[in-house]
Subunit: 412 residues, 2 copies
């Protein structure tokens, strides 16, 4: 079998999808169920149909493009990723796994390969937590890790429910029909950019992911007391923003305190109310993200943050309400899928490292119902979630080649 990736065509398709954005290039903003997201989905589905794939969509918008295998009774093999993008993001996060996955299928078709098991390309809904505050919405529901009735209760910041938003994008039906049975897929492999600097630093073109870090996120509301910035004296103040500032610094300290390089803690959102230069902030809201590859260590960090909230609330006489939005266990990848990727690298004489994914992926949830692994390609400067996120066409081609080879192995 002679596998050949059409590098220029794939780069053009990534470019076209990148321009399907709420913001002008090079900025990609493609929040789930917005008009840009819907246009992006249409673009990918058209390419899938051109490749002869059959499309199914579930009520939450997870999209399955199927290349029928010769034995329809066998569990299929899955690949894919997401196309939604946070505000002010780049062109490669998620999309490389979707359009690269499609190109892997096309390369197999061009090589005259006929799969025994069907191969399904998945586009997961809302891997990014931007709109509904919870990441991997589609794969969480698919894997049964998010209760459909909890999905029914989700709302965005404007009060639009998940059910209203998905209906506006053309997805109807009951969320309870989304979960797939365990073992639905024989294997699942996701191609993705690393979003970190390790492969580039080591000058290794590929990373075979053996475990996915355990993410947790918190929403913290602080209620203090407002007042005139000139008239209320310092000793009597109950400034909600200063409490938020201390909590944010405590998140950093807690993440550093484990001494482990794999522990990270971030405050990515801070809102201050009323937000006037001459008003003491009466309320503040922050959102916190904590990850580690070891769950107990991560949970120690969460406990330290909770302790800091309590200490700061008492010291500043403010009320702090902390809500644990999600706290997922880490995933170990399946040896069979890891091996398929390793063998594919070896067959094409491409160096690789076994590595850990510190970022959050749909594979974390797919691993609950299917043998799962991931394949990483280098990110320039380790940069992601930014307009200058970049992976070279050559790097993407190597990833697609290895993915195609592994899919052939797993589906044969």
């Amino acid at each position: 079998m002679q596998l050949k990736v059409e590098q220029t065509r794939l780069a053009e398709e990534l470019d076209a999808l990148g321009k399907t954005s709420e913001a002008p290039p090079p900025v990609v903003t493609r929040v789930v169920f917005t008009e840009a997201d819907v246009r992006g989905r249409e673009f990918v589905k058209r390419l899938c149909r051109e490749a002869g794939l059959t499309i199914r969509e579930d009520p939450v918008g997870n999209t399955f493009a199927r290349w029928e295998g010769s034995d329809a009774n066998l569990a299929p093999v899955g690949t894919g990723s997401h196309i939604d993008a946070i505000p002010n993001a780049g062109r490669f996060d998620g999309t490389v796994g979707v359009l690269g996955g499609l190109e892997a299928i096309r390369a197999l078709q061009r090589a005259g390969y006929h799969p025994r098991r069907s191969i399904e390309l998945l586009i997961f809904t809302s891997e990014e937590p931007t709109r509904f505050g919870i990441g991997c919405l589609g794969s969480r529901l698919l894997s049964g890790l998010l209760d459909p009735s909890a999905g029914d209760r989700l709302k965005d910041r404007d009060g639009i429910s998940l059910n209203e938003a998905r209906a506006s994008a053309g997805f109807s039906g009951c969320l309870s029909t989304v979960p797939l049975p365990s073992g639905y897929y024989a294997a699942f492999a996701e191609l993705h950019i690393e979003q970190g600097p390790i492969l580039e630093q080591r000058q290794v073109p590929l990373g075979v992911v053996t475990a996915i870090a355990a993410p947790a996120s918190l929403k913290i509301q602080i209620e203090g007391e407002g007042g005139h910035a000139g008239a209320v004296l310092m000793p009597g103040r109950r400034d909600a923003f200063l409490a938020a500032a201390e909590i944010a610094l405590a998140v950093e300290s807690a993440a550093l305190s484990t001494g482990a390089i794999d522990t990270v803690g971030t405050v990515g959102i801070c809102e201050v109310f009323p937000g006037a230069v001459n008003s003491i902030p009466s309320r503040a809201r922050i959102e916190v993200d904590v990850r580690d590859i070891e769950q107990t260590r991560r949970d120690t960090v969460l406990q330290q943050i909770a302790d800091a909230c309590e200490r700061i609330a008492a010291k500043r006489n403010v009320r702090v309400h902390s809500e644990l939005v999600n706290s997922d266990p880490p995933a170990q990848c399946a040896p069979a899928v890891v091996d398929a990727l390793v063998h594919a690298c070896e067959k094409h004489k491409l160096p690789f490292d076994r590595m850990i994914s510190r970022a959050y992926h749909d594979s974390l949830f797919m691993s609950r119902i299917s043998p799962t692994a991931m394949l990483f390609i280098p990110s320039r400067g380790g940069v992601s979630h930014r307009p200058d996120e970049y992976s070279s066409p050559e790097a993407i081609t190597q990833g697609v080649l290895v993915l195609a080879e592994a899919l052939a192995h797993l589906s044969s």
Copy 2:
């Protein structure tokens, strides 16, 4: 002369003006040159016309309602305040000085008083810095403390210039015609709520202001580096929000470090970019307000904040750009106007304290061109710039009575 304040009528007028808001009651949001501000101005001007006052408006929207005195050659006496309100404010800040000033004039009219000097009620444009980032816009221009060409360059957050905004509210003409000559007013007296807790705590109904604190404000931009909250490890981070958090805490420390109760420092605005829970903040923007009744002490605080910015920028490897938006000297009130207020209190057997205004007022700028003083009434709980801001009708009546008595003395 028998002075009598129509307490119920004034309370109803304050209530009606409070309902002229962009937000539903009890919230008052009346940002300069918005539709609510324009409606508020129309309401007050109608009441002024009903009292027989002659109205003049200058190009920036400062409004002068004149009760003609018997000797038109003499410099008039001024009173008044502002009606614009920050987002989520209350009903009494500024409006007590405008509608209370009008009621003082009406009380003098009802008592059969005829002024020798004309008495002018002023409604200053944009005492609040909400829209154009600079407080006391109208009185700064009137007093010549803000260069008209600098006014021409002001823009709001949406890029709308001051000149476009004032035109949309019906105010045209060149800003260079706004400044009044020094000595234009023989005296200026502003009635205002205290916006602090002192009068209430001391159970004293009136405060005669002898000095106004010196405000300064800063806009601080922080540029770090974004990235994925899971993938970028802690040691390599250049988190702009954590730098902002440290600067905010440094503002608090600097304000406390003087050991003087009159030093205050506040960070009322913090914006984080891109603002996603799984993205490291690449940029942050804060706005800082520092005040003191002693200019040198306040400038020491500003220097400490500048030093902290430099130290934090170096430590976190971020760029910090700090812009001094304004830095005004404190004002000493004029003995003649202070005396007029003191004598009015004594005449009506109302206890008073001499005090300092820590809040920013149009009187700070009027004091540059006119002998100026202020009269404070108690604020319940010291609360201001909030919907629950409150001064009782009885307290307001006492303020109006003393103001009317002092205006009679100053205009006779």
